[in-house]
């Protein structure tokens, strides 16, 4: 066990934890003031539900090498963390406590379903959301995490690369978000649903950016050159994406906005996530700049054309930029940067790119189909949408009997 690595991963775990309240404030500021608390509540409840799910079952299903379904799902030997010790488990991380690795992974398991909340805000029943988050962790997150990161996982065997969770976190959440909103439907009063508190959005985005250093650099699982590379690429991609989004707004709308700047930053952070420890700084800048183009196109053109109500653009930003990041990893990855990775398309290797395409197609297809069926089932059993009256009144008052601001 290495103390430096252990402390590094422990601090990274705290940073990823910070992304959850960061995300909560990011989302809450983007809804109308009558729904702020319902969004904060959804994120906070997700934190509690998935944390317990992970300790009791999730970690075992995602990471137990004695697989229950070969290549598809981990086993049950680590249920309730039995056998997850404070000594290293070399199969995943040779230099830090196994328990610390489990906690680091837990934060990823929590933030992923929390991302989906952004799509369903202002109209989904809290009870149905809680059931959905729990079931989704079992049916979508745990299997995909096993495919990509688990020992024996079939995408890992295939050679697909996902440094910090582009496929597992952002594609799965983004695509699932689309599946949910297609069934959930549009909000009433859509034309007047504007953000109530942009300073809170910027604060949330700042916390996300900070937390992302733990998310990406921490995924090296050691205080190593790879961790520092991921640190630099993460920051560079976010900066490039911020500027890129501002320039797009300036060019097409004649006015740069702070909401555009933070949207771009998140898009860049999403896209660089799978690539962070595998690519050069210049590749990261390119990945970030293009991520904003993808997000801008999804938000301004595709969403308007197709008319789905992905309220806070979870599909547009996390889903699509996650896909771009996964493909970009297949293009720009270099063994000069990370000998444990592979050569991308740019270096004349088609194999990695093929594996990335397969990983994207399968995770998109799986997330969409399973989430679609799951939400249909929950809708049939308990209903997923609040009544029209509750929606007009606002979920804060109608579901939680609280209001956010008493100031006159």
């Amino acid at each position: 066990m290495n103390t430096g690595d252990s402390v590094f991963v422990w601090i990274s775990t705290l940073l990823v934890f910070l992304m959850i309240p960061g995300l909560a404030f990011f989302y809450a500021g983007l809804v109308r003031k009558k729904n702020i608390l319902s969004v904060l509540m959804a994120c906070f409840a997700t934190l509690a539900i998935v944390s317990l799910q992970w300790v009791l079952f999730g970690y075992s299903l995602a990471f137990d090498p004695a697989e229950f379904i070969h290549g598809f799902l981990g086993g049950f030997h680590w249920v309730g963390l039995s056998g997850v010790l404070h000594t290293p488990f070399p199969g995943y991380s040779a230099t830090i406590p196994h328990s610390s690795y489990m906690m680091f992974q837990m934060m990823f398991a929590v933030i992923t379903p929390a991302l989906i909340i952004g799509a369903v805000v202002e109209r989904m029943k809290f009870s149905a959301l809680c059931v959905f988050i729990l079931a989704w962790s079992f049916l979508v997150y745990d299997p995909i995490a096993h495919w990509v990161w688990g020992m024996g996982g079939w995408l890992r065997q295939l050679g697909a690369l996902d440094f910090a969770g582009g496929t597992v976190v952002h594609i799965s959440a983004g695509i699932s978000a689309l599946a949910v909103v297609l069934i959930l439907g549009k909000r009433k009063e859509l034309a007047t649903a504007h953000p109530c508190n942009l300073p809170m959005v910027v604060l949330g985005a700042g916390l996300l950016w900070l937390g992302w250093f733990g998310f990406n650099a921490g995924s090296a699982l050691a205080m190593s050159d790879i961790a520092m590379q991921a640190f630099l690429t993460t920051h560079s991609a976010a900066a490039a994406a911020t500027l890129s989004y501002l320039l797009l707004e300036w060019g097409f709308q004649k006015r740069p906005t702070i909401l555009g700047a933070v949207t771009g930053a998140i898009a860049g952070l999403v896209a660089v996530t799978p690539a962070a420890g595998f690519v050069s700084i210049f590749a990261a800048i390119f990945v970030g700049a293009v991520a904003s183009l993808v997000a801008y196109f999804m938000i301004t053109v595709v969403k308007k054309k197709l008319g789905y109500d992905d309220a806070l653009d979870v599909f547009g930003v996390h889903g699509m930029c996650g896909i771009w990041g996964a493909l970009a990893t297949g293009i720009f990855a270099s063994t000069q940067i990370n000998p444990g990775g592979a050569e991308g398309l740019l270096y004349g290797n088609l194999g990695l790119f093929k594996a990335q395409v397969i990983a994207v197609i399968v995770s998109v297809g799986y997330s969409f189909c399973v989430t679609f069926v799951l939400i249909k089932v929950i809708d049939a059993i308990m209903g997923i949408r609040v009544t029209e009256q509750e929606e007009y009144q606002g979920l804060d008052l109608s579901l939680h009997h609280e209001i956010a601001y008493k100031l006159d």
């Binding site: 504007h194 953000p195 709308q253 006015r255 906005t257 909401l259 555009g260 949207t263």
Partner: protein, 112 residues
């Protein structure tokens, strides 16, 4: 007796309130209101979604005065003029009665 209702731009208010008090009038009522007029709508944009607002922020100042004070006060209120569309309006109404809640005094005795 007259009742003056003045709709004014909020940022011109400070100077006007001072001048009214210098003139000697101490009782008046002020409220924040939204007004609609000829001026262009303001445009907000959030992730490329336009939020166009054609109601604008104004303040409504209400004063009850004796007939002799009317013209000097209207002159003071007109200093809120900036030469832009929808600088504001001044309405003058006939006032039937004025009663002090504390003393029960009526009309000229309670007006400035």
């Amino acid at each position: 007796m007259k009742y003056i209702v003045a709709i004014l731009r909020p940022h011109r208010l400070d100077g006007i309130l001072e001048k009214i008090q210098e003139f000697g009038l101490v009782h008046f009522t002020l409220s924040n209101v939204m007004g609609h007029g000829l001026q262009k709508a303001t445009e907000e944009v959030y992730r490329n979604v336009l939020d166009s607002k054609d109601m604008h922020e104004y303040v409504k100042l209400e004063l009850a005065v004796n007939d002799v004070s009317l013209e000097p006060l209207v002159e003071i209120l007109k200093t809120g003029f900036e030469g832009e569309l929808d600088d504001g309006k001044i309405f003058v109404l006939e006032l039937v009665s004025a009663i002090s809640v504390r003393t029960g005094e009526r009309d000229a005795l309670v007006l400035g």
